[in-house]
Amino acid sequence: MAGVDWLGFTKKRGIYLLAAIFLLLVYTLALQPPARIESFASAVSDGYFDWNTRKPSDQLVFLEIENTSVQAFGRWPWSRDLVAQGLKRLEAAEVIGLDMLFSEPTSADKDEQLAEVLTTLPIIGGVFLNGPQAKTLSEQAYSQLLLSSLTQVQSPQLIDSELAELPIEIINTSLPFLAALNIAPDADHKFRRYPLAFWLQDAVLPNLGVQMWRVGRYEDLQLTRTSAQLGAQLLPIDKKTRTRINYYPEDAWQRISFAELMQPNWDSQRLANKWVVVGVSEAGVTDLRATPIGQLAGPLVHLTFLANLLDNTLLANLTNLQLLFVFLTVFILLLAIWQLSLPWLRFGLSLLLGVGIYFAGVAGYAFFNLWLEVFYPLLFLLAAAVTGEIWLFVANRAETAYLRSAFSSYVAPSLVDELVQQGSQLQLGGKKQQLTVLFSDLRGFTPTTELLETEELVSHLNRYFGLMIDEIHQHKGTLDKLIGDAVMALFNAPLADDDHAYNACLTAAGMMQALKNFNRHYSASDPHFLRMGIGINTGEAVVGNIGAANRFNFTAIGDAVNTSARLESATKEVNLDWQAAIKAGENKPSSQVDILIGEQTYLAVKDRLPCYPVNNLELKGKAAPLNAWVLDWQKMIQQKLLL
């Protein structure tokens, strides 16, 4: 029982271990999540984007074919000469990305008109990685693809597409560049990550956003197995060379409708040096993508990636080590929470910790472009906290049961409840403290035992003890032990009682009164008639669970205990002296001496209880004579001090 155990380690060892196991399990899950759990986890963190209030660079423009354009020019797809006229008005732009595909021939002259315009523009055409087998690509188409492909790649890990749908040849050959238009969704069909490039046969075809940067900035994307570098910028990528995109509020984009572009007073300089993505946002055409911030037109996903590149806000996942650090922090805080004894406080703080984790995620996102999948630490917190509560509940019940069984026979049931509730106040470890010890014994009982039948003696004594113990319990005392026909009770231990001396005196008086009632049915000469003396002493003693292995008791040891026993045995002689003195005509304040109290008890009660001094009392085993006081229990009853 000795030693420092400030985390309650021995008691809570099991739960610490369990929490550590949870930590490892959830951490492993976070490193290798199955696709469904991964997308669920991402969905929990999607709310981060609400905290992004930045505007994308005004260099980026979305030229959209939306509602009013469709109203003005009819249903999409439009005649290609109209598209050609529109694209021609983009000549001032620095780069143009087409988020659309011209994969079927229309009338030859209109296709030609479009092709003619395309050759004059810094424009990137789209390739869809679906449809026909890539193996069937024509020689010309493959050459065209190779000219648009990345040239600095060293075994990158990319999504490998076996399918490719290219623009028709006349348009394809007129387009200076091609790019992929694909974004792979997560398991919940939401678009969170942007693949930088795809394998297409031996070519590494960049996505539209990457290609626009290559053309606009004339910088290449270098890919290796684990890194992606665009110009001087190192891009954070995952195992499939995808990067997390950082969405802006949908209304933050600079949009120009096709209808506006076609106005006669269109000023082409509005697009000078701009990077323009041309695409369809009209709902009927369904180029809408599910994103963490809701339905978004596909072209805006490409633009978001570009905007992230321009303001350097692509999101990086936490490294494994950083994630571990998060988990350990939660673990340590949880350990601290478990040190609290109040369940509602633990609950409240755990809740607060959960909220704290979420906002740590938000802060990492908003200030450091770091993406913490907050789901995993929260899962750990939930699992550990719930298990912890169950554990603590079960452990407390076990402790309660122990306390009840250990104390209910010694302490009043109401006190046991108090003991259980104030478990922390109860110190069973052993300590030195002030307490009051009450000692009672039957006078001249040994002859009685010889006169009564054994069984009757036992039941008679049990009735007597029952009455005495009730009195002790009534006044917050703890029955320490029964020694033969003697009773030893403690006050102020193990449960604190500020007025222990007074309560011990009340108990003694109560016991005398109870004995008087008990004796009512018997004459003074009847062997059933019992006489009792009580000694009470207050002082310092060592209290604690004393004993060995499976057999130990809460008790007190010390001079205070011995003195109270000596005082009890002195009552008989003092009473005899007192009776003799009364016979000799001396005036004594009470007719009888049944209770003797020691000096410290007297000092605590002298103003409240009737006590008369007995000077220089010689006690057995005591070198120097002591002062003791007679407690007049009959007067206490007259004064109605007992309830």
Binding site: E94, V95, P122, Y142, S143, L146, L147, S148, S149, L150, T151, Q152, Q154, S155, F177, Q201, D202, A203, R214, V215, G216, R217, Y218, E219, D220, L221, R225, N273
Partner: protein
């Protein structure tokens, strides 16, 4: 504006020798899809006219079923399919990926250097084949002398394959078996598998190996512990050499 300059560049560079750099090498012949990427450009050149003068930093890349013949100050080389070669300077080139057969003519006092991301090969006049894969690097020497070191200068554990005369009978049996298997193995076999199949004996820790003609040095990949096995030239390598060699004649 950038785009205009880009277009201008495309137009200019399509005239093969109208480049403003000191050229030590030129692209002589191609087959299949061979791409040329000039220093600093993210895009390959269009309308490549041969022969094409190569400058420092220029890269030549081949896809599947493509091949390129390059003459350089040290001699000639044939770039095999799925390979990428970068011009460094007058005395050196770098095979960043894939396989190439080099023929270097002897020059007085001058050393020619061929590099891969992993190794540096010092040449004194020779014919050799280099293959650079992520899991292993091979240098097979047909004539002359080369010295092979790692780029990072690390010492490597040097193993030498036993000559047949030094083998016990059971070893010889295993070797026979292994020789047969060689036909099935190609250069993409991982180093660790290859090592297992060679009855190689640890010799020493060395920082460089002087390779003998008729031998092939195989080096472990970048993220493994530095090891190198010196063995007779692999049959599949020999076959590849014959195929590429036809362009050198």
């Amino acid at each position: 504006m950038l785009f205009v300059s880009l277009l201008l560049m495309l137009v200019y560079t399509s005239f093969a020798f109208a480049v403003e750099c000191e050229s030590y090498a030129s692209l002589i012949r191609t087959e299949g899809k061979v791409q040329l990427v000039a220093l600093g450009s993210p895009f390959p050149k269009r309308n490549l006219d041969l022969p094409y003068a190569l400058c420092s930093g220029d890269r030549v890349q081949t896809v599947a079923e493509a091949q390129a013949l390059i003459s350089h100050s040290g001699g000639e080389l044939v770039l095999a399919e799925n390979s990428s070669l970068e011009m460094l300077d007058v005395d050196s080139l770098s095979l960043t990926e894939g396989t190439a057969l080099f023929r270097v003519t002897k020059r007085e006092g001058q050393r020619f250097v061929a590099k891969t991301p992993l190794v540096v090969i010092g040449v004194k006049g020779t014919e050799f084949l280099v293959s650079s894969q992520s899991s292993r690097n091979d240098v097979a020497l047909f004539k002359g002398e080369v010295e092979v070191e790692r780029q990072d200068g690390q010492e490597m554990a040097y193993y030498e394959s036993k000559p047949v005369s030094a083998m016990s009978f059971s070893e010889y049996q295993a070797f026979q078996q292994q020789s047969f298997n060689e036909y099935k193995n190609n250069l993409e076999q991982a180093f660790s598998d290859y090592k297992e199949q060679q009855l190689a004996e640890f010799k020493a820790y060395v920082s460089g190996v002087d390779l003998q003609a008729g031998r092939q040095l195989t080096l472990s990949g970048e993220n493994e512990k530095p090891e190198a096995i010196d063995a007779p030239i692999n049959k599949s390598v020999e076959k590849l050499q014959q195929q590429l060699n036809s362009w050198l004649e």
